[in-house]
Amino acid sequence: MKLITAVIKPHRLDEVKDALQAFGVHGLTLTEASGYGRQRGHTEVYRGAEYTVDLVPKIRIEVLVEDADAEQLMDVVVKAARTGKIGDGKVWSIPVDDAVRVRTGERGPDAL
């Protein structure tokens, strides 16, 4: 199994969600996050005083998938999240040893 984590722009959430659903993903976990990449943050001005805001709002999506689907799923997320502008985010995958569905106790791929 793989855990796919995507950090995306908040306004791309609907597209990514729709794309994941169309792909057949049954569930996902979503977190409001903040951070910065190469673009850094932005500047805000209050009564002439400038503040550099490093951490910009992001959405973090996590999906557990079978190994065979991981590669394709990452492409799906990237395609849906992309605007072509700076700050579009990142997607990565990491191996997962095991998973358990809490309600039934099913393990491994059956728990997905």
């Binding site: 805000e44 001005v45 209050y46 009564r47 002439g48 005083a49 400038e50 503040y51 805001v53």
Partner: protein, 446 residues
Amino acid sequence: MPPGILTLAADKVTLSPANTGFMLICSALVMIMTPGLAFFYGGMVRVKSVLNMLMMSFISLGIVTILWVLYGFGLAFGTDSGGFIGWNGNFAGLSGIGLTELWGTSTIPVYVFAIFQLMFAVITPALISGALADRVKFTAWALFIALWVTVVYFPVAHWVWGDGGWLFELKVIDFAGGTAVHINAGAAALGVLLVVGKRIGFKKDPMRPHSLPLVMLGAGLLWFGWFGFNAGSWLGNDDGIGAVAFVNTQVATAAAMLGWLAYEKLRHGSFTTLGAASGAVAGLVAITPACGAVSPLGAIAVGVIAGVLCAMAVNLKYKFGYDDSLDVIGVHLVGGVVGSLLVGLFATGGVQSKAKGLFYGGGFDQLGRQAVGVVCVLLYSLVVSYVLAKVIDLVMGFRVGEDEEVAGIDQAAHAETAYDFTGAGGGTVGRKGPALGEALTKKVDA
């Protein structure tokens, strides 16, 4: 403000129900300015100190109201003594005043005048608090308010508006409080700042406003209440002067907001919400002394000039390194000075007073009088406020401890926090008694 006459209920003046009702409404309007100011300031501070900011304004409603009734009204508007201070035993406790006894040559009861003026006395020290955000002991602040209104506000109100007050006799025009309220509060802010010092992290840590919607709400309430402040200051509207003041208040405020925003767009690239709110307040401040003396076109000029100058002035604190946290000096002192001096330029001579400004053929005479008023109130308030703050600092300390300031003054001073962001946990709701764990333990023990 029309002259108050010492012999109450002057001949040929009768109580006007219309003016009395109007003035009671105006008094209520001025009252809402203090909570409005609290929100204006409260939105500008960080989450950890918003309650303290609200309370620093709100407490003034408690303290000053009581002092005003006990002796403040007597000191400010009692029989003059040497042009400096007044006193009238009947005003102490508002106990010797007849229900229908009229205020001087006006057509409203003394009670109505007293409550209207009370609201001015309440908001003035509250204005000072914006300079002291996040870092002063609440008890020290409460004591400062009590002492400050007693030795600064009550006398200065007498100088400016009291019959026999020396600035009143000098014919300094201050329709609704440019000198007595705004310069007074702005100069006091500077005086206290010199004692209290900067916030920890000033110019290093981000200190962005935590809620601009609150700032806008506060500015809106201030604008709304200011109609009572200004239009009510003629104590009636038999001759239309109160209406002129109302119109000028609206016009100058609009112009100042646009002036501030235009400056901001040119200088920093955006029309900001905080700029709109601040510009409006700057316009309200500047038109306060002038709204009975200028024409609506003059009010536009006063507004634009004040909006731009105050927008420029708020940067002075970074230049000079004093932490006027919410720009009391940049907005109220500078706005008050600008408005008071512009009376000397734009007074038409056809409204509140016959005195004409420089641009209306009056020469430099009125401008000179206005300058005297500005400088004297500024210096008196600055020096006495500094001394008061210094004494309080020596006796009990004016600032909270470093730890408390860094952790947030709300919890330290009020045992409260403004917002619950967690949504989870929180313990027992709605009852006072042993904590759940405690009860459980007892049961198990039994």
